[in-house]
């Protein structure tokens, strides 16, 4: 049976004629192009020939991402390589060498360098391709279950469109499957799409009666596309009944099934047509700033080469002209005819190009690539950039912009999840107008603060549950259905230390009213019920993929909108299996222990947003444990140990307009219908019932709650609060169904508010301070409210105490003020102390073409810029504007889908792989796990990569110019006839072997300053900014040096051998040898730190030179006719003059550079040199010096604001603003009113 199936799969087309093949190709092309595809099951056609298969036109599931095949590797790779202009140039030159009138060398030999370079590149390409092939092979051979009579284990590559595939728990989905059946009673299938976007999803299918054999429907679906969030298809039964399905029913290839025993799906797209493969665009290619600069200089080299060749050509012309007769050394052509001087000088031009071609560094490109591979290796292996918590290292997704990391001038950062943990922790609450500050938690906080001195590493913010529009927007963008978000919960989030008073209050309430209608009980019930948290039991919980993190999964809220299948009878149904293993626990134990509810191993919550989970955990701390949630019921264990099953009648999902969510449940004991609502403060307050409008108790409660909320908000520590309101309903269910959401949520009773904390990530303030000291301007772009953003701005030291904060509304005025402030002579020496805060609406106007320049002018003058309430599109526009208009290097860092635009626009995009999935990471060039890693990545690796590569490139240009010029100077003494005084093989070896590895090693391993110094003195980073170390000046200085050195290297031997009987190669040998020494020792001067690797490579290069040259000179009697270096070096090495010449030319050539360095380092040392000096001191002495030095350099240590009298009323309002307890509210108010203009 199995064999038959296999036959049908593999066999088939053997007997086909070519015509049929052609017809089939046309047909399949047509079938694939069609907008709609009709797919039927393969089962009825099992065992039939290939031509009978209904889905034969669609791509099989086997994938092939490798570009090459063994057979066609050479032609295809050559084709690829000739896309590079440089390669074409060098091959062109080599071919030019085959033209007899212009050739400079033996033609075959001229091909060697380019062949070696291309061979190396081909090796690299081949290796990469082989790895792709291997991973493809591994994927294609993964096992999966395909139905033929029963489920048989096969390989992924055997999967065809129209098959039924069964995926069991923790297995990866092999192709895009239309979900038909799952083992889950609710017909949902949990999948984790971390391979695609790092998220976890629910897939749902309602028809749960399923039998593959009897599947006789036609699946009609759209043409494959790469939209991961969109899919349309319908299933047509034989009786023409159609059922639609969307992306929620599609299991995408690469996802993993979780928490679901098995799922069965129908293959709609396979192999390269799957959405994940269509999204796989291969590696990113960016061109770094340095490389752009490099190309300019290559152009300069071409120009230089052109000039040199022109000189050679002209010289040849004049030389020929001056010969009055035909001397015996002038060789005519075969017919004894001599070309006219002009013609032969024309030929000579091309000969010169061939001779001097190495001036264009042929191996530079391949060397740069090798160096970058090495640099990436060192970035990847840095343990400081490794995050133990997630067991992940930094990822380099872009292989060619490592050096850009060292030139960043502007950083654009997202806030939530980037600066903060995006891990919400319940901190405070206010119930019935009474504040429960949870001091224990506060202690924890103050302890934290104490530990980190003034660095405020924790803060809270004013958000009202979905208070943060940013979160909503990011939800919307992340998924077209805004409802499915995942969160990872940290252990800490479950740790809420209960407030003693509140515990007492609860136990009092319980005793008094048996937990039914007491507002305290209601408050916690609301916390536990009014959310979309799904409970998974510890036993069924999937194996943790990520250490310490528990992926939390959330229901899709839209389920609430679907027609309920069952009557109210199911609502009381208790999911006994969910409650399995959970023992009722008395409130007393909780009360007595008063400890964090650490015993959370039994239940595990999967929440759509971290906020929700935090609240559920908070409720659990107080004994209200959410035990189970099904679409129709919620089971909660109350402190008394009783398990209450609430029938869920309706859920009004959260949306960004309403800024609230509601759940309508029926209380199991009283039978009352209760609507629990939670939402942003202003969204809730206006819905309160009429009693709150009047005087009396209710009004006071509302006012107190509002006051508490404001307190949370004003608190220097960011306070999160959550508001939670419920109202008791008595209407019948049917009527309710008719009622609109708005009608339901009126006349609410205020229960209370909660404060949730989103902690700043570790070392964020420290990192931001360091980055700022490094001369990088940090802009924070967030979707948060201005006051929240401002709080974070202070907390993460983006702004400092004593800064002016300017809130922009009238651009011109502000600009004028700021300008005046700057031009004020009193402020000339002060560091910029103005921070700019701008909100999304104003920003939209400021970004308009006529205001852009003024906005940038303003932003340039400010130390930091905070943009709040911005949309993802605005984020990318800001980045683009700054990048293009200010011509600076920008870096964008973010973690969520809302940052993707910005990350893609910036010169360097950094993704933080954290809570919000992988989309930012997928779009990024580098992915890190924590914001703090940015510090080392930029300050250390960025600096190193930049200086290394910059110096390496400069050196490379120098090296080639210095060597080639030797040949050029010789032309003046050989009638510009294109003679080389060095054997051509040795010239090739010189570039390929003797002097190729040292610069590569230099580019990978040189270390100008230690990592400790770079981290300790961020100012050192400034050396790389702007044009960096590789610029017009350094390039031409090194070229001039190359000319000087080549002059020395040529003319010292020339003068020493003048008038003697020296022959050509004997003359060339000391030239070659001393230029080797000069070139290597020049590098030796440049190398800042010599490790054992340096020594081995440098000494190895010299040894290689002598060994190879000696061997070549000894073996090669006739192998390179007509030129022949036989026994030349041996002869020379027996002559003391050889050594004397080499020594003096090496010393004279290098003396100026060496002396210049020494004098410069002593008289006017650069910061890097100073740092290097400090680096050599004892750590304790070093720290002392470092401090002194930094304060001298005017670092940010100077706290005091020198602004005595603010120059304008506008600034006066904001001068020395700091969000203390007193005046913050008034400020915020003013700020908001200012911003109205922006609307």
């Amino acid at each position: 049976m199995e064999r038959m199936g296999a036959g049908a799969r593999g066999g088939g087309g053997l007997s086909w004629s070519p015509l049929a093949l052609l017809r089939d190709a046309v047909l399949s092309q047509k079938a694939r192009e069609k907008e709609l595809r009709s797919l039927v099951s393969n089962l009825p056609f099992e065992g039939l020939g290939k031509s009978k298969q209904p889905n034969r036109f669609f791509k099989p599931n086997a994938i092939k991402t490798n570009k090459y095949t063994p057979l066609f590797f050479i032609p295809m790779n050559l084709y690829e390589q000739f896309h590079r202009l440089a390669n074409v140039y060098f091959v062109g030159l080599a071919i030019l060498n085959f033209i007899p009138v212009v050739n400079a060398f033996q033609p075959e030999v001229a091909l060697i360098p380019i062949c070696v370079i291309m061979f190396l590149t081909a090796l690299k390409d081949g290796w990469e391709d082989f790895r792709r092939y291997q991973s493809d092979k591994k994927l294609n051979n993964m096992p999966c279950l395909i139905y033929t009579k029963h489920y048989i284990e096969r390989r992924w590559k055997d999967v065809r469109v129209g098959d039924f595939v069964k995926v069991v728990c923790n297995e990866t989905v092999p192709a895009d499957l239309l979900l038909l059946h799952t083992s889950d009673p609710n017909n949902v299938c949990h999948i984790e799409t971390s391979n695609l976007d790092g998220e976890t999803n629910l897939k749902q299918r309602n028809n749960d009666v399923f039998e593959p054999e009897s599947f006789n429907c036609t699946v009609v679906c759209e043409k494959p596309n790469n939209n991961l969030n969109h899919f349309k298809c319908f299933v047509e039964k034989p009786d023409k009944e159609k059922t639609g399905a969307g992306i929620e029913s599609l299991l995408l290839r690469g996802c993993t099934v979780r928490n679901t025993e098995h799922a069965i799906g129908f293959v709609v797209y396979a192999g390269h047509e799957t959405k994940s493969m269509l999204n796989n665009n291969g590696p990113r290619y960016k061109r770094s700033k340095l490389e752009r600069r490099l190309n300019v200089d290559v152009f300069f080299c071409v120009l230089l080469l052109f000039i040199m060749c022109l000189i050679g050509s002209l010289g040849h012309y004049l030389w020929l002209k001056n010969l009055s007769d035909v001397p015996s050394f002038l060789v005519s052509d075969s017919k004894g005819h001599l070309d006219s001087p002009s013609l032969s000088s024309f030929y000579m031009f091309f000969t010169m190009i061939i001779l001097l071609q190495i001036l264009i560094p042929i191996s530079l490109y391949v060397s740069v690539e090798l160096v970058k591979i090495g640099q990436i290796f060192f970035i990847l292996t840095d343990v400081d950039l490794y995050d133990e918590e997630t067991d992940s290292q930094v990822q380099c997704r872009s292989l060619n912009i490592t050096e850009d990391l060292g030139q960043i001038e502007y950083i654009f950062s997202d806030k939530t999840g980037t600066l903060t943990e995006n891990k919400m922790v319940f901190r405070r609450c206010s119930i019935m107008g009474k504040d429960y500050p949870h001091k224990e938690n506060g202690k924890d906080l103050s302890h934290f603060i104490h530990t980190f001195k003034n660095a405020v590493t924790q803060f809270q913010k004013v958000i009202l549950y979905y208070r943060n529009s940013n979160r909503v927007i990011c939800c919307c963008l992340r998924k077209l259905s805004p409802l499915v978000v995942i969160a990872f919960l940290h252990h800490q989030e479950t740790q809420v230390i209960p407030d003693e008073k509140l515990l007492q209050q609860i136990s009092r309430s319980e005793r008094s009213s048996s937990g039914i209608s007491d507002p305290y009980m209601d408050f916690f019930l609301a916390l536990a019920i009014c959310n979309s948290v799904v409970v998974s039991m510890a036993t069924t919980q999937r194996q943790r993929v990520i250490h310490l993190h528990t992926p939390i999964r959330l229901t899709t809220l839209w389920r609430a909108f679907l027609p309920k299948q069952n009557g109210s009878s199911t609502s009381a149904h208790k999911r006994s299996d969910d409650a399995n293993g959970v023992q009722p626990r008395a409130l007393d134990t909780v009360t007595l222990s008063a400890r964090p509810a650490a015993a959370s191993g039994d239940v595990c919550y999967e929440a759509e947003s971290p906020d929700e989970a935090a609240l559920v955990y908070a409720a659990k701390t107080y004994g209200f444990t959410l035990l189970a949630r099904t679409p129709n019921s919620v089971t909660v264990r109350v402190p008394s140990g009783e398990e209450l099953v609430f029938e869920v009648l309706d859920t009004l999902a959260f949306d960004s307009n309403r800024k609230r969510m509601s759940v309508l449940v029926r209380h199991p004991i009283t039978g009352e219908y209760v609507l629990y609502t939670k939402g942003a403060d202003y969204a809730i307050m206006e819905l309160l019932g009429t009693p709150y409008a009047g005087d009396g108790q209710q009004k006071k409660i509302a006012a107190d709650t509002q006051y508490h909320l404001d307190c949370y908000a004003k608190d220097g520590l960011r306070t999160l609060s959550e508001q939670h309101i419920s109202f008791i309903w008595a209407y019948g269910r049917e009527e309710l169904m008719m009622a609109s959401a708005v009608q339901l949520e009126t006349e609410l009773t205020l229960l209370g508010a909660t404060g949730i904390e989103d902690r700043l990530q570790e070392s964020v303030p420290d990192t931001i301070t360091a980055l700022r000291e490094a001369g990088i301007k940090v802009w924070v772009l967030t979707g948060d409210k201005p006051e929240t953003a401002l709080n974070i701005g202070y907390a993460c030291r983006l702004m400092e105490e004593g800064d002016l904060v300017t809130c922009v509304s009238i651009l011109d005025c502000t600009l004028e003020e700021v300008r005046r402030y700057h031009e004020d002579p009193r402020n000339v020496d002060t560091t910029q102390k103005i921070s700019l805060m701008i909100d999304g609406d104003t920003l939209a106007i400021a970004l308009s073409p006529d205001l852009q320049d003024r906005f940038l002018d303003l932003a340039k003058r400010c130390r930091s810029v905070l943009c709040c309430r911005v949309t993802p599109l605005q984020k990318s526009r800001v980045v683009k504007l700054v990048r293009d208009k200010l011509k600076v290097m920008t870096l964008a860092v973010g973690d969520g889908a809302n940052d993707v635009n910005m990350i893609q626009v910036a010169d360097v995009g950094i993704g933080i792989s954290g809570q919000e999935g992988m989309q930012a990471v997928m779009a990024s060039d580098f992915a890190i796990t924590r914001f703090k890693h940015l510090k080392k990545l930029l300050l250390v690796h960025g600096h190193w990569c930049h200086t290394r590569l910059a110096n390496m490139i400069i050196y490379f240009f120098y090296k080639n110019a210095a060597y080639v010029n030797l040949l050029f100077w010789y032309q003046f003494y050989c009638g510009f006839s294109g003679t080389a005084m060095i054997d051509y093989w040795l010239m090739i070896f010189f570039n390929l072997f003797f002097t190729s590895t040292p610069p590569i090693m230099f580019g990978i391993m040189d270390k100008d300053v230690s990592a400790e110094m770079l981290m300790g003195v961020p100012e050192l980073y400034r050396t790389g900014q702007g044009s960096g170390e590789y610029n017009f000046r350094t390039f031409w200085i090194s070229m001039l040096d190359a000319f000087y050195q080549s002059l020395v290297c040529f003319f010292v031997p020339y003068l020493a051998y003048q008038g003697s009987d020296v022959d050509i190669f004997t003359f060339g040998t000391p030239l070659n040898t001393s230029s080797l020494f000069i070139i290597l020792l020049h590098l030796g001067i440049e190398i800042k730190s010599w490790t054992v690797v340096h020594w081995i490579i440098m000494l190895g290069s010299v040894a290689l030179y002598f060994i190879v040259t000696l061997a070549y000179s000894a073996i090669c009697v006739t192998c390179n006719p007509p030129s022949n270096p036989y026994w030349i070096l041996q002869n020379q090495m027996a002559d003391p003059m050889f050594y004397l010449i080499c020594i003096i030319s090496t010393v004279v050539a290098l003396l100026p550079r060496y002396t210049f360095y020494v004098l410069k380092n002593s008289i006017a040392p650069s910061p890097l040199i100073q740092a290097k000096h400090l680096d050599r001191m004892e750590p304790s002495v070093r720290d002392m010096w470092m401090k002194e030095w930094r304060s001298l350099r005017g670092g940010t240590e100077v706290k005091e604001s020198r602004l005595s009298t603010p120059p304008s009323p506008t600034l006066e309002t904001s001068v020395d603003f700091y969000p203390g307890f007193g005046d913050a509210a008034s400020f915020v108010g003013e700020d908001m009113s200012l911003n109205v203009i922006g609307d």
Partner: protein, 340 residues
Amino acid sequence: MTTMKEEGNYANRPSNTAFTQQRLPAWQPMLSAGVVIPGFLLIGLAFIGIGVGLLITSRSIQVLELDYTGTETSSPCYQCTMSNQSNCVCKLSFSIGTLFKGPVFFYYGLTNYFQNQRKYGVSKDFNQLIGDVSYFKSPSSDCQPYQRVNGKPIVPCGAIANSMFNDTFKLYQIINGKEELVPFDGKGIAWWTDYNIKYRNPDYTPLKNAFNDTEKPVFWTKPAYELDTSDASNNGFINQDFLVWMRRAALPNFRKLYRRITEGNYKDGLPAGNYSLEISYNYPVISFEGTKKVTFSNVSWMGGQNEFLGIAYLVIGSMCVVMSVVMLIVYAKFRFPEED
């Protein structure tokens, strides 16, 4: 077991070695004034020493150069520069005041002669020159236009061989008005490797047979196998003069070793006295404004006389010493704190 598990948990942790963490012990040379003073001083003194040595050696070398181009009418060779003078012989008289210490090397020199021209340099057939007779019949096309003459292949072909220097010299000491021939030693003036390895005669006896059906180079007066009638082993491709000529000069003004004076009465050098040099003037140089000269020189370990190197060493050495003083001043004024 536990450790295994822990390792598994940190599977992606990079290895923490000095190499991967870029913490290999390193020598970090500090290019500052204080550090380099001894270096400069040492190099300076060493160079001055070498320079003095070189200069003394160079000064001890005696050189006698005689131009015999004959461009000036006063020159004894003037008449040889006239057109169509064949087998012209001119005599150059000179006197030596003190003993010219031996062994004396006798060079001929050419100026403005570009043996290093690329096309000229290519123009030879290496296979002929290692004695491969098959190439006698069909010389390499590199030899053009000196590949064939009258349809017959030229051996040795090519421009280098063709343009071989063909002036010959005889030196006489005039003792009591009588000319006494100073014996020349023509052996071993070419490189040993050229004579023994790179150039071989075909294995024919007599050598003439190998050259059947070939032509001598057009400028030559004698075929290759008759270059030295006095010494049969100094013929063909291993003729010393031929080998010396075939080793192309690197620069347009060069000299080539012609003979050594090592024999008989002249073993210790040329005694003071009057000498006469008989030149058989054949080689044309006037057309390209070249000059011809002969040079007598004795040699030292550093080769011929050359003052440049000695002076260069002296100058650079003194500069280094001066620099070390400058560095000392700089060091005193700008030293870094930790250099105390």
